[in-house]
């Protein structure tokens, strides 16, 4: 069944390749800081597959090392946002009294553009991986919460939930036993989209100089480095950018594939 779905297969293959690349880069101990001043700003060639930057560092090595940071951020944000968002969504959907408050707060968070929220959080908490993850996740939580909440609201009206109440089941056992399994499908799909978005946002933050510290190689940081020299050495920005696009594309395809599996398009049969 998994084989039949093209998007899923393609996505998994690409992601597997990225993970392998990241592992090799970490394990081989390639030095991202190895500077060779004689090799500055070299265009892509056999010696430097992706070219070199203004300090003579090999772009390919940096990009390979950056893979783990970017993927890690994406995964971490997805997990955090999904966990918090699900809890909030379940509570807001099931308990009318909590609904209003929780949704107001979610509205408030959504009122602030993602970038600003992230920058604000990072400027408070300092620039580390945890704060970046927190910053980006805080923007994604309302999206997850809203989805879970609307699923819960529609499930509340289902006869089997009412039957459960008549069978003396407590609210919590209904939420955990009946509703949670029902949202896991869409949660998985949403999780992938959140991860993709998180990676893009992290790159954007680094690009603007507000993300992880510059010595940590992330794709965004590498691109930020190459910003000023764009006319001279476009490869410094373009290669990490392309890698990022492919990785995010793979994750989006994963999400699409999962979605098609859980909810194949409605075909009318008389």
């Amino acid at each position: 069944m998994l084989i039949g779905n093209r998007s899923l297969v393609v996505a998994c293959v690409i992601l597997a390749a990225f993970i392998v690349l990241a592992l090799i880069a970490q394990l081989s101990g390639a030095n991202s800081q190895a500077m060779a001043t004689g090799q500055r700003l070299q265009p892509p060639s056999f010696a430097h597959w992706f070219g070199s930057d203004r300090l003579g560092r090999d772009i390919f090595a940096r990009v390979a090392l950056g893979t783990s940071a970017s993927l890690a951020v994406g995964a971490a944000v997805a997990c955090a946002a999904c966990l918090i968002g699900t809890i909030l969504g379940l509570l807001a959907g099931y308990f009318r009294s909590l609904d209003k408050i929780v949704m107001r707060v979610m509205d408030g968070i959504m009122a602030v553009p993602a970038i600003m929220l992230a920058i604000a959080t990072i400027s408070v908490a300092g620039a580390s991986i945890t704060s970046v993850v927190l910053a980006i996740a805080s923007h994604e939580v309302p999206r997850v919460a809203r989805l879970i909440r609307s699923s819960v609201l529609s499930m509340r009206e289902e006869p089997y939930v009412e039957a459960a109440r008549l069978l003396h089941s407590s609210s919590y056992s209904i939420m955990l036993g009946h509703m949670l399994p029902g949202v896991l499908g869409s949660l998985a799909v949403l999780g992938t989209y959140v991860a993709a978005n998180a990676m893009l946002l992290e790159a954007t933050l680094s690009f603007l100089g507000c993300g992880l510290p510059p010595d940590v190689p992330t794709w965004g940081n590498i691109m930020a480095d190459g910003r000023i020299l764009f006319r001279l050495a476009p490869w410094i920005v373009l290669f990490p950018g392309i890698m990022l696009a492919i990785a995010v594309l793979a994750i989006n395809l994963l999400g699409d594939g999962l979605r098609d599996r859980f909810d194949p398009g409605n075909e009318r049969v008389v």
Binding site: S169, H178, V269
Partner: protein
């Protein structure tokens, strides 16, 4: 009126429509042949899955892409229509060959005004100008008896009632005086009294414009009420056809006979021992409930029903049917009794214990069987898990609960192995039995059936009803049976309460209420039951 000598206006020969390969049978419709004479009403009757709707869609050329006609011919006025181009077919639809559907609410465009929708076929097929279209639309509305056409023309579908919506659909279909009207269960989604009016309307159309009607239904009462001829379908094939009289009264075919036998009614009623002196299981006194107005958004659309000063009693081993149409408040009463809703006023006493106003559902020994068997069981849980949920909550150990669950499943006519399977592996009737078993597992004293058999086929209905009767006798349960179906109510109850707009307008022993209804509304309700005269 019926010209049997003339050429049939619609002739189907050997039609077969294939189903996608994953289905449980190969054809939706198999080698079907029938003829529709000009000006006659032909009813096609069958249970769900008989292929009757597929046949209608094949005629209109509206089959979903997953289904395809593999062979056969359909001739409309002598002309073969299966091989027509889509442009030619479009020219016929809405023009000479029209169709009306089952669910009037979803069949009308929610963002378009009624008047505009009625004019739609006029816009598509004729070159009438604005005034001509308007006049014709008004005329049509009068023909189908839509009240205050001037006002209703400017309204939207959600602002008018179900019966009015179906009339609008009929007006749309008849705009260009088609030779044939196809009707797919046109009255199934309507209340009994509305149903009677729509059926009368269809008969009038036949009389006025000599339109031939091919009407598909699962309700034999409808057939008895308006059909000139009848076709009986089973699993995609025609098993019998003939005049209504012949089929309904003197049919020899086993399937037809079983269908007729399964129709509930007073003739099936078994003598019931009056339960004198039996203790009261349920006593409802002065029950009132109203829903708070929902604020800005739902203003103007149909308001939620209220319940007003309702009094009833159910004794041990007794069945009380609460009968009413949609909006009568009967479901609200059921929900208040079992605790899913809080009441505003009044008392509910169960087994001698007065219930608190704001009590949690499920403390009392009451259980409820829901209407939709497809949604009463969590689709992701195994049957076993669903069955033991309640028992574990009241303190039974898991092992004991599983054991008892197996026993109960066997009691309702299923196998123990069902415990490990999922709801989608069972039919509607089987799922309803599982729900009954689940309800019984809680050892209730009162069982409420909220339209519990309304969504089932007639033959399955009969089985479930007999199961309920058996269990009631064995466990001495009180049964509160909520329904809109008078036939069933009369067949199974000791007492009947008729509800109208939140009030009980009639209350008494079933036979008395049936043979001699006192209140005007009850009389109207009983009169409206389709096919009452032919099939008691």
């Amino acid at each position: 009126m019926i010209e049997t000598s003339a050429q049939p206006v619609l002739q189907i020969d050997n039609l077969s429509v294939a189903l996608p390969t994953v289905s449980d049978r190969r054809f939706a419709v198999e080698s079907l042949s029938l003829a529709l004479q000009p000006g006659e009403i032909l009813c096609v009757v069958g249970e769900s899955g008989s292929g009757k709707s597929a046949m209608l869609f094949a005629i209109m050329g509206l089959l979903a892409s997953a289904l395809r006609t593999v062979e056969g011919s359909i001739r409309f006025r002598g002309r073969e229509i299966l091989s027509l181009s889509s442009a030619d077919m479009r020219a016929l639809r809405g023009n000479q060959l029209s169709m009306i559907f089952q669910e009037p609410m979803t069949a009308l465009n929610p963002t378009m005004k009624i008047g505009r929708q009625i004019e739609e076929s006029l816009r598509i097929h004729t070159g009438m100008d604005r005034k001509q279209r308007r006049d014709r639309a008004m005329e049509l509305m009068r023909v189908v008896n839509i009240p205050s056409p001037e006002t209703l023309r400017e309204r939207y579908p959600h602002q008018i009632s179900g019966g009015q919506r179906q009339r609008v659909m009929i007006a749309m279909a008849l705009a260009l005086e088609p030779a044939v009207l196809l009707a797919d269960e046109p009255t199934t989604a309507l209340d009994v009294t509305t149903q009677a009016q729509i059926l009368k309307q269809i008969k009038e159309i036949q009389r006025r414009s000599n339109t031939a009607v091919l009407l598909v239904t699962h309700d034999i009462g409808v057939v008895a009420e308006i059909a000139d001829r009848v076709v009986v379908m089973q699993s995609g094939k025609i098993v019998e056809q003939g005049s209504t009289q012949a089929v309904l009264q003197t049919s020899q075919h086993p399937y037809t006979r079983s269908l007729l036998a399964a129709v509930p009614g007073i003739r099936h009623r078994r003598p019931r021992q009056p339960t004198a002196g039996a203790p009261e299981i349920l006593k409802v006194a002065d029950l009132s409930k109203s829903y708070p107005s929902s604020g800005f958004w739902l203003r103007g659309s149909l308001r939620a029903p209220a319940v007003n000063d309702v009094n009833l009693v159910v004794r041990q081993g007794e069945t009380l049917s609460v009968v009413g149409e949609s909006g009568s408040g009967k479901s609200t009463v059921a929900r208040c009794v079992c605790g899913l809703l809080n009441v505003n006023r009044g008392t509910i006493t169960i087994d001698g214990i007065k219930q608190d106003r704001k009590r949690r559902a499920g403390i009392q020994p009451v259980q409820l069987i829901f209407q939709d068997p497809n949604r009463s069981l969590d689709p992701r849980w195994t049957i076993g898990k669903s069955m033991i949920e309640g028992m574990c909550n009241i303190g039974k150990s898991k092992a004991d609960a599983v054991e008892r669950a197996g026993d109960l499943l066997e009691k309702v006519g299923l196998q123990r192995s069902a415990l490990n399977r999922h709801p989608h592996e069972f039919s509607g009737g089987q799922r309803q039995r599982i729900c009954i078993a689940r309800a019984i597992s809680m050892e209730p004293r009162l069982l409420i059936a909220d339209e519990a058999v309304s969504a089932l086929d007639v033959s399955v209905q009969a089985q479930v009803l007999s199961l309920l009767a058996e269990l009631q006798k064995e466990m001495q349960l009180g049964l509160l049976f909520i329904t809109h179906d008078l036939r069933t109510a009369v067949q199974i109850s000791d007492n009947i309460a008729v509800m109208y707009r939140g009030n009980i307008v009639e209350y008494g022993p079933a036979l008395d209420v049936y043979s001699n209804p006192q209140h005007a509304y009850s009389r109207q309700l009983f009169e409206a039951s389709p096919g009452r005269r032919w099939l008691p």
